[in-house]
């Protein structure tokens, strides 16, 4: 076995891992190593050949691979080491990482660890779609990779379930490559992806969007031959009699993402059941000191720009920890999702200063008032003209050290 040491180990070389590693190195950590399971860096970005990345952060609308290359070049400049085709098998409470690649088993003692494993896609069974089990059913991300990385066309007559951005992007991609996209099926009364994508991926090509609909059955003996689509009511229950058969040979599932936290759970780090990511404080530190979380494995982000800024903070704090300079906890306050809010990250605040929160609304609404309260004390308030669960809300406020915090939790609410 190969024994090594590193100041900061970043697990995952996607946009979060890259941003965290760059930031850790810039903060002064000496040996920063990115461990990445694929042969390439950039995570999911190289297959996201569409543009729209980096608009806020870099002022340019880059394609996924171009955005990734910015960070990859910077990482190279900074002499950040990368171990590709390497899988982390586990890490211990003492921050020792066990990883494997073709050279052997590595035992690397880390000064600090950044978790940036990304997420996996929800499968057919998350929606429990009954019917037969033919070939031709793919999650949208897998189909995207097959087409853009491997030059493989999944099929020619496509139905897409889920109107998240990946599903919308794939509707256009498949159309460009000669497939017929019969429609995008969305169970909610609104599209969950950006309006820009609804226009540029569906409207532009006359691809219908079926809101308040879902796939209730899959058919086809060996290869998919059709799906049964039906309307749903406001409780998302199928309305009997509205079933419609749509012949197709490919079903793409864009049902949502699940943060990957197998490694995190295995070592006993506390997870938030709503975000399915670790419970973190404002430094993105988890319940295990020295272990930080960022990117889609912390929470599912909408844009890479916001993801990168948080990852930079995580990397910075990880580096500081590895140098023995981390913030001591002044106090530990829980941040809870109150009325109208599904979740808030971070879930804990342990110091005074400028606090950045991200949260999601429970349902769409206009003219909402956001409150951040500690008991009766109002820490922050803001008027939001328009909220939507699909758009992450960002809030920055200052927690002054003169402020007296009650025993109660901090609650974030929308009404």
């Amino acid at each position: 076995m190969i024994h090594q040491q590193a100041d900061v180990i970043v697990i995952g070389g996607g946009p979060a891992g890259l941003a965290a590693a760059v930031s850790a190195k810039e903060t002064g950590a000496k040996r920063v190593v990115i461990i990445e399971r694929n042969t390439w860096l950039g995570g999911i970005l190289p297959q996201c050949i569409h543009d729209g990345f980096g608009v806020e952060e870099l002022g340019e609308s880059l394609t996924g691979p171009e955005y990734a290359e910015r960070y990859i070049s910077r990482a190279t400049q900074l002499n950040i080491e990368t171990m590709t085709e390497t899988m982390v098998l586990e890490f211990t409470k003492d921050l020792e990482i066990i990883a494997v690649n073709k050279k052997g088993i590595y035992l690397i003692q880390a000064g600090a660890i950044v978790l940036a494993m990304g997420c996996r896609e929800k499968t057919r069974w998350h929606a429990l779609i009954p019917g037969t089990r033919p070939s031709g059913i793919y999650t949208a991300g897998v189909a995207q990779g097959l087409i853009n990385l491997y030059n493989i066309m999944p099929g020619n007559n496509v139905v897409i379930l889920g109107s998240g951005d990946v599903g919308l992007i794939m509707a256009r991609r498949l159309t460009f490559e000669g497939a017929k996209v019969q429609g995008v099926i969305e169970i909610l009364p609104y599209a969950s992806g950006l309006p820009r994508n609804v226009v540029q991926c569906l409207d532009d090509y006359g691809i219908p969007l079926f809101l308040n609909h879902t796939v209730v059955e899959i058919g086809g003996h060996e290869r998919l031959s059709h799906v049964l689509v039906a309307q749903v009511d406001e409780h998302r229950n199928m309305i009997p009699g509205t079933e419609k058969k749509i012949p197709c040979d490919t079903l793409l599932l864009s049902l949502g993402l699940i943060p990957e936290n197998e490694l995190t759970a295995a070592v006993g780090i506390a997870l938030d059941p709503t975000t399915q990511g670790p419970v973190v404080n404002q430094d993105y530190e988890t319940s295990l000191r020295g272990v930080y979380s960022c990117g889609n494995s912390l929470q599912v982000y909408d844009t890479v720009d916001v993801l990168a800024s948080h990852a930079q903070k995580a990397g910075h704090c990880a580096a500081a920890f590895s140098q023995g300079r981390s913030n001591t906890f002044k106090f530990e306050k829980n941040v809870c999702a109150g009325k109208g809010v599904t979740y808030v990250v971070p879930q804990k605040i342990t110091t005074y200063g400028s606090i950045k929160l991200t949260l999601r609304a429970k349902k769409p609404g206009k003219k909402q008032q956001l409150h951040v309260k500690n008991g009766e004390t109002l820490l922050f308030t803001k008027k939001l003209p328009y909220v939507n669960p699909a758009n992450m809300i960002q809030v920055t406020f200052s927690l002054a050290n003169t402020m007296h915090l009650s025993k109660k939790d901090i609650e974030v609410s929308l009404q």
């Binding site: 052997g104 037969t132 033919p134 087409i147 990385l149 060996e222």
Partner: protein, 510 residues
């Protein structure tokens, strides 16, 4: 009658020169056909197996509960009881010989209330008549000690019930049979059978073969095969069983199998809770008589019923624990109206010598398989002198995967072959070496499912989200498969329609 010596010379001359002539032809590569193939491979006879699917165990043999039954559920002196008990014993040594996993977890048949205890007593009696050892009726406190999550009034403890991976043992039987000279033809359907002077002409989708003996081990298709030569005196009644698969994080909820008392009410399934060797939990099966023997679809209704009933046995079952659903179809010989129970029919045709039928091999079919194989071997020995091979090979399936080895063992493997260091399936920690071995299987099965069942890649939480791209890449490279011919699990289940940019180009720039 030829003496054994001259007969042996005659057979060697006759069969070695012709690749289409066999002494025994087995139709059907499920667990029954495969265990028979393995049994016969011990002897100096030539055997061929025709399987219409793209792999062995591609039908009901892979879509069942994976249970090795004790024998308490079959009437004493029935063939089902006889072969179940013999098979249960045989599996105890087979696991070690062939290297597949069996765990003797035992079963609790639970009574919800006082009334159902009668049924436990009846089952215990039947079991004792069938000479099933160790049966004990115990109270709910004793059950709770071993199974804290299970609610019941009392239970019958059945220690000799076990769990197995049905596809794994079928693959072990079939691949070892091939290793010892049995020919297995996948994607080969039998279209017609005719008699000839020496036995049979078998017309298949891959050409015409000849054999002295034909064994019909086709399960759901058995009537079609019989009808090729004689008028069938039976019907097959397909009866579908749906299952739910629960996430591994539920695996500590039960240790043994939990079966409610067999139910009298219509509409109530009596859902079984079966832990699997890999750490999942199976709920099911349902029992639905259907007309199409290939309709393995699942239904929302049934999924809800299965889960609801399971929650009555294990109240703390989390709602989000379902990761998969599937169904398998039983080849029943008795209709719903007649009560749905019939014994096995393992018999040579009275009109056509050498035409052996294995009919109605439903539960406890998996358990009975090796015992049925021995019975059929005995039937065949009437026609063909069976001499045991002097040189018999066994390739044990690897009992421990990379994921289960110590770090030192893993390090040593990687040193020998760097492919052990490349993880292809993240969820189950399956390495490229294991995938490559699965691709190079002796049956030549190269569907995605064939790989999945041999090395477990794709069976985890992400259900192939990460590994599919790598397995496809390896199938193209190692098995030299064109992507248009890559299938999921059966001959027409193609995965892709082609490339988006064709491989050969006329116009090129720079």
């Amino acid at each position: 009658m030829r003496t054994p010596t001259t007969e042996h010379i005659y057979m060697t001359l006759f069969y070695s020169s012709a690749m289409k002539n066999f002494q025994v032809a087995i139709i059907g590569g499920g667990v029954i056909g495969s265990s028979l193939a393995w049994e016969l491979s011990h002897y100096n006879i030539s055997t061929i197996v025709f399987e219409q699917g793209s792999d062995v165990a591609s039908g009901t043999s892979k879509a069942n509960s994976g249970v090795l039954h004790s024998g308490i559920n079959s009437p004493p002196s029935s063939l089902k009881a006889l072969y179940c008990i013999q098979g249960n014993k045989l599996f105890r040594s087979l696991a070690g010989i062939l290297g597949f996993l069996v765990q003797w977890r035992g079963k609790y048949v639970i009574a919800k209330n006082e009334e159902e205890v009668e049924e436990l007593v009846r089952l215990k009696k039947v079991g004792e008549q069938n000479k099933v050892p160790g049966l004990q009726i115990i109270d709910s406190k004793s059950v709770k000690k071993k199974e804290p999550h299970v609610s019941c009034h009392s239970a019958l403890w059945v220690p000799t019930a076990g769990i197995i991976l049905p596809y794994e043992c079928t693959i072990a039987f079939a691949e070892n049979a091939v290793l010892n000279g049995v020919k297995v033809l996948l994607e080969t359907a039998v279209k017609n059978i005719k008699r000839n002077d020496h036995g049979f002409d078998i017309v298949t989708s891959q050409g015409i073969y000849h054999s002295e003996i034909v064994v019909n081990a086709t399960g759901l298709n058995s009537r079609t095969i019989v009808a090729m030569l004689e008028e069938p005196d039976f019907d097959i009644y397909p009866c579908r069983g749906e299952y739910l698969v629960l996430d591994k994080n539920c695996n500590n909820m039960v240790h043994s199998m939990i079966y409610p008392v067999p139910v009298k009410n219509l509409g109530v399934l009596g859902v079984h809770v079966t832990p699997t060797i890999e750490g999942n939990i199976l709920l099911g099966p349902s029992a639905e008589f259907i007309s199409d023997p290939y309709d393995t679809s699942t239904s929302k209704q049934m999924m809800q019923v299965l889960f609801k009933e399971a929650k009555e046995i294990i109240p703390s079952l989390p709602d989000s624990s379902i990761i998969n659903a599937y169904s398998g179809i039983r080849c029943k010989l008795a209709s719903k109206q007649s009560g749905g129970w019939a014994d096995y029919r393992i018999q040579e045709s009275t009109a056509i010598p050498g035409f052996i039928h294995l009919l109605g091999i439903e539960s406890p079919g998996l358990t009975a398989a090796p015992a049925i194989a021995q019975e059929v071997r005995t039937m065949i020995s009437k026609y063909i002198s069976l001499k045991k091979k002097k040189k018999f090979m066994v390739k044990k399936r690897r009992l421990r995967r990379f994921a289960e080895m110590s770090r030192e063992e893993q390090q040593q493997l990687i040193k020998k072959d760097e492919r052990w260091g490349r993880i292809i399936c993240r969820c189950e920690t399956v390495t490229e070496a294991e995938v490559a071995e699965a691709i190079a299987n002796p049956l030549g099965a190269t569907t995605l499912s064939a790989i999945k069942y041999r090395c477990r890649a794709g069976m985890g939480r992400c259900q192939g989200g990460f590994c599919t791209q790598h397995i496809v890449r390896l199938l193209q490279k190692e098995a030299k498969k064109d992507i248009k011919h890559l299938n999921l699990k059966s001959p027409q289940s193609h995965l892709f329609s082609g490339n988006i940019r064709e491989e050969n180009h006329d116009t090129s720039t720079s």
